[in-house]
């Protein structure tokens, strides 16, 4: 008998009588003031939210706040004139090790916890939002949902190779519970909230 068969037969022999799977769709009803809550939640976990009307405002913000000589990457075609634009998966993700600022776009964000949802096609290269020193994300107001239940309802069974929720900058409190931003991932996260 293979290990697979051994495990499956032991599990089958020992599992209790079938307990029904509860319906969790009723949890979709929760209603909260969406954009305001999102801003409060993301700010509380160390992120920053900037309200913008268009891409020109984002460009102006970056010109003002990110050093001219730093390496900037974007997956957003509208920003191709201010940062290296990447269209496809980069074969050697290690080449992104010196990226200072990455700007990506997300279609979905969650008010209750400040998380944004990005699938592989939004970031092109999986490691990008983690390896960059600082992360900027463009989110549309209409893309914010109240809770994780609505988020997964929207995600449905969409296909992706990799996807992630990102909520604020990378952080740790492993040393005496002192919160430090910038553990291994991005040191800061700025959401450009577009109306």
């Amino acid at each position: 008998m293979t290990s697979r068969e051994k495990i499956l037969s032991a599990v089958k022999a020992n599992q209790p009588d079938l307990a029904i799977l509860p319906d969790v769709d009723f949890l979709l009803q929760e209603d909260i003031d969406v954009p305001e809550k999102f801003i409060a939640a993301l700010t509380a976990i160390g992120g920053q939210v900037i309200a913008v009307e268009n891409y020109a405002v984002i460009k102006a913000f970056i010109a003002k706040n990110v050093e001219q000589s730093s390496r900037k990457i974007t997956t957003v075609s509208e920003l191709a004139d201010i940062a290296e634009y990447i269209e496809d998966n980069i074969a050697k993700p290690h080449s992104l090790e010196n990226v200072d600022y990455a700007i990506i776009e997300a279609d979905l964000a969650v008010a209750e916890n400040g998380a944004i949802w990005v699938t592989e096609d939004k970031i092109r290269t999986r490691v990008l939002p983690f390896i960059t020193q600082h992360l900027g994300v463009i989110v549309r107001r209409g893309g914010i949902v109240p809770t994780m239940h609505q988020a997964y309802n929207k995600i449905g069974l969409n296909d992706y190779g990799f996807a992630t929720f990102i909520a604020g900058p990378s952080k740790t409190a492993d040393i005496e519970q002192s919160l430090v931003l910038g553990a291994h991932g991005a040191r800061s996260m700025t959401v450009f909230l577009m109306s």
Partner: protein
């Protein structure tokens, strides 16, 4: 690590921890502070109890249909291009990891947090086989440098003072002696481990949730270390216990809302990464591990322990854990949940753990998936005694208790003797030989028992 594994008695190990009273107070207060943050986060969710109940029912369904879900998960993962391995025990799991590394001639691996690999003692095994393993979670890296086990499943070095961490970094990473600033030490680890991430061809991660419906798995971190390792490596190995399965993707909505609020009071971890297919030209492996779990599934009184999502809330709230430290449990998973999981693996070795509790029930109250932890602790005690695994002194005293309580004459005589001793010879019990006297004063004895008083006052 060796020191901890050789001594196998919670009370003795707790006594070692209690030698430093100031540290115990600090440990106690730190964990209680985290428990308080949990309460604040939980109180912001209006339907928290509904969520807990939903999570509990989903997990009950998982356990009752696990063999089907495992096969569904496997078949979806396979069609996603993931290689699936099955390991009946720790030894087989470790061997599979080694064989994957050997196939690629890889001698160095970076690892993110996985309590399962701690349970399997993977690091020791790989090191004995010439593989260099670096733990990348900051807390895990710290205990790895200190050659210790994590003392907490979510906060691996919660028992360490920053000065001790500063000293470890000074010795191993060359930071200036005496610098114990958390910001500075974290930055040092970031720089040091960035180089590790960029040069390792293999990365191992744990699994928080594996979704049967889609064949994907989710890994949660705050630091981003699992993603840095996995996305930069050619080979990603993910180790999971059979109980990590959840039926559908939408159930993540329930579990991700509960997990970090229960753990640290955060609304969600910084990263909740969903791995569905290997990256182009890369390999992704999943090792599904039993290691005693299917036996626990068959123990009606204890199978609920397999619902655990490893948030650590039961440890943060436990009055015994907070004052005895994680290492006193001499098991990869400490605290109340560790105390109901460990005896399943080795009843004799972990016979002491179900007794390391006041049975106050606080663990059960905070558990996000409604595991009846304190009731299982109580039930394990009975199983352990029946199987003869209690220490001789406890066994003898319980036999005397049994003899005393089953005879009214003996009971009354014993009561009289007890009151006499406490009154005229308190030193007989208030001495170091009596463990109940530690940190306590024995009570003032009443002049007479209730029975004697009743006879005198109400007796016809």
């Amino acid at each position: 690590m060796s020191e901890i594994q050789n001594t196998t008695n919670h009370a003795e190990l707790a006594e070692v921890f209690n030698n430093d009273e100031a540290r115990v107070d600090w440990h106690d207060e730190t964990l209680w502070w985290i428990r308080s943050k949990r309460d604040v986060a939980v109180n912001k969710i209006s339907n928290w109890e509904v969520l807990r109940e939903a999570a509990s029912q989903i997990k009950n369904n998982v356990l009752s249909n696990l063999s089907n879900y495992l096969q569904q998960f496997e078949s979806n993962a396979l069609s996603n291009g993931i290689t699936v391995h099955w390991a009946t025990d720790a030894k087989e799991h470790n061997q599979i990891v080694l064989s994957i590394l050997e196939k690629h001639s890889i001698h160095q691996m970076v690892k993110s947090k996985s309590m399962l690999t701690e349970e399997c003692h993977l690091n020791d095994f790989l090191e004995a086989n010439g593989i260099d393993v670096i733990d990348s979670d900051l807390g895990e890296r710290i205990v790895q440098l200190a050659k210790e086990m994590p003392s907490h499943i979510v906060l691996p070095c919660i028992h360490k003072k920053k000065e001790e961490i500063g000293e470890l970094f000074h010795q191993h990473l060359g930071t200036p002696a005496g610098n114990a600033d958390p910001q500075f030490l974290t930055e040092t680890a970031r720089q040091h481990l960035r180089d590790t991430f960029l040069t390792r061809r293999a990365a191992l991660t744990g699994v928080n949730f594996a979704i049967a419906e889609t064949g994907e798995f989710v890994v949660c971190t705050n630091e981003g270390n699992a993603d840095m390792g996995a996305h930069l490596a050619d080979v990603h190995i993910a180790s999971m216990g059979i109980e990590k399965i959840i039926p559908e993707r939408k159930h993540l909505g329930v579990f991700l809302r509960l997990l970090t609020r229960s753990a640290t009071g955060q609304p969600i971890t910084t990263y909740s990464s969903h791995f569905k297919r290997p990256n182009k030209d890369k390999e992704m492996h999943i090792i599904i591990v039993d290691n005693g779990r299917s036996i626990q599934l068959g123990r009606e009184d204890f199978r609920n322990s397999l619902k655990c999502i490893r948030c650590g809330a039961c440890m943060n709230t436990c009055p015994v854990y907070r004052r005895s430290g994680g290492h006193s449990y001499h098991n990869a998973i400490s605290g109340p949940i560790g105390s109901i999981l460990a005896p399943n693996l080795d009843m004799e070795k972990y016979a002491d753990l179900p007794f390391a509790s006041t049975l106050c029930g606080s663990c059960t109250n905070v558990c996000p998936v409604k595991i009846d932890i304190h009731q299982q602790l109580y039930k394990w005690r009975q199983v352990i005694v029946k199987n003869g695994y209690v220490p001789a002194a406890k066994k003898a005293s319980m036999q005397i208790m049994n003899w005393t309580l089953s005879s009214p004459t003996v009971y009354h005589t014993a009561g009289k003797a007890g009151r006499f001793v406490l009154k005229y010879a308190p030193f007989m019990v208030s001495n170091k030989l009596n463990p109940w006297y530690k940190h306590r004063d024995m009570p003032e004895p009443p002049k007479e028992s209730f029975g004697e008083w009743y006879k005198k006052n109400r007796g016809n």
